[in-house]
């Protein structure tokens, strides 16, 4: 197709147009807006950002009433939170004496700082809610059934990571709300027999919520948990494709197969 379209193009009038075309073609190998089935296929699998999608999807999986778009909404929220989170890192400082001042700065000194913080905060609350609703959707539509058992497990892990992200982020403003919510939350972890107290000390870097806890929660919140969540999100998407797309009424009564599909 590439050869034929290049041959069909009229001879370039000047070298500049040819040069521009060369650059464009090196970036986007196939056409501009794809018009036919072949172009539509290439548009998806020739793009790094689109190739997590299959080239074709079932009409059923596009019905908003079936999925309520919850998985896409959760992903969108995660992207927005990553973007605003990195932006917030420019202003934030994980120090018990400095963190709260940075919160005040976001309200007064930083241009649109309040919007930045508010979007991050409400996005985080919504993400917890949407991920739980997504799990409920999957349950009520029987979408965890074979061959999708493993993706249900990955989903549980993603829910736990989401809760972990929200919980670690809760401490960072270092106000009364943050301090005491984390004190209460981590004391729940301390009730577990044998493992509880060491786990709590490991999380807090001490026996009470203080500077050590703030740094640990910060590193968990901006590096470790988002990294883990990104990896398992990729596994989650990958498995959707490997399991034959979203669940579908046609998946009923298929005899189980050995090995993967």
């Amino acid at each position: 197709m590439n050869d034929s379209t290049q041959n069909a193009r009229p001879a370039p009038r000047n070298r500049l147009a040819e040069f521009g075309n060369h650059i464009y073609r090196s970036l986007f190998r196939y056409g501009r807006v794809p018009q036919d089935a072949e172009g539509q296929s290439y548009a998806v699998f020739n793009s790094l950002f689109l190739h997590i999608h299959p080239v074709k999807v079932s009409r059923h999986s596009l019905r908003f009433g079936y999925t309520l778009g919850l998985g896409v909404i959760a992903t969108a929220l995660f992207l927005v939170l990553t973007f605003t989170g990195i932006w917030l890192m420019f202003y934030y400082f994980p120090s018990a004496s400095e963190a709260y001042n940075r919160m005040l700065d976001l309200r007064s000194a930083v241009d649109f700082g309040f919007v930045l913080r508010n979007v991050h905060k409400w996005g985080a609350e919504l993400m917890v809610l949407v991920v739980i609703l997504h799990m409920a959707r999957v349950f009520f539509t029987g979408a965890y059934k074979p061959p999708r058992e493993f993706n249900w497990l990955v989903g549980i892990l993603l829910l736990l990571l989401t809760l972990g992200l929200s919980f670690t982020g809760y401490l960072l403003p270092w106000d009364q709300l943050a301090f005491w919510a984390i004190t209460v939350g981590t004391s729940i972890a301390g009730y577990a027999p044998v493992l509880g107290p060491p786990l709590r000390r490991f999380l807090l870097g001490g026996d009470v919520v203080g500077q050590e806890a703030l740094v640990r929660f910060y590193v968990l919140h901006v590096v470790i948990l988002p990294g883990l969540l990104s990896i398992f999100l990729a596994v989650h998407f990958w498995r959707i494709r490997k399991d034959g797309g979203l669940s579908h009424p046609d998946d009923n009564d298929i005899p189980p197969k050995g090995g993967g599909r």
Binding site: D36, P54, V57, S58, M103, V119, Y191, D250, R261
Partner: protein, 176 residues
Amino acid sequence: MNEVNTKHVYPEDPSKTYGLMELVKGTKPTVGLQPDDMVFTWPHLLVRELTLFVVVVAVLLVLAFLFNAPLEELANPNHPPNPAKAPWYFLGLQELVSYSAVIGGVMIPTLIVLGLALVPFVDRKRTGIGVWFAKERSLANGLFLTFLILMLVLIIVGMFFRGPNWGFVIPWESAQ
């Protein structure tokens, strides 16, 4: 691409006869293809994903301009609020902990996660997939709905009906 299951799309009914009815023009070879319900990701799925993304960003911006994220006084380890409350999604746990620390704070959460993880390995029948609240699945769906409602009730109790020393309060009376 993965195999596409077309058995219901093109069912063969032994009581009927099949014949060539029409010839259609097309732009791609369709020899041996059965009708399926597949559409191209570009543009069908991508347009929907992008639209949803824009809606999410718009909703967040509206929320951000309307409501400020809470910010209380500087953290003070010597002045605990009474009651001190966990984030909303842990309020159900905190409520359970108020009855029993070990059962509510450790055993029940562990059982919830283990129970959820076991769901697809216990409920293996391939029926009722792909539709909301399928009749064949009313038991499983009923159990899960009960679980969700229970969690919601615990969270609401923890959020609105708990006052100083985690005592029971009526929110609309204590407000006065």
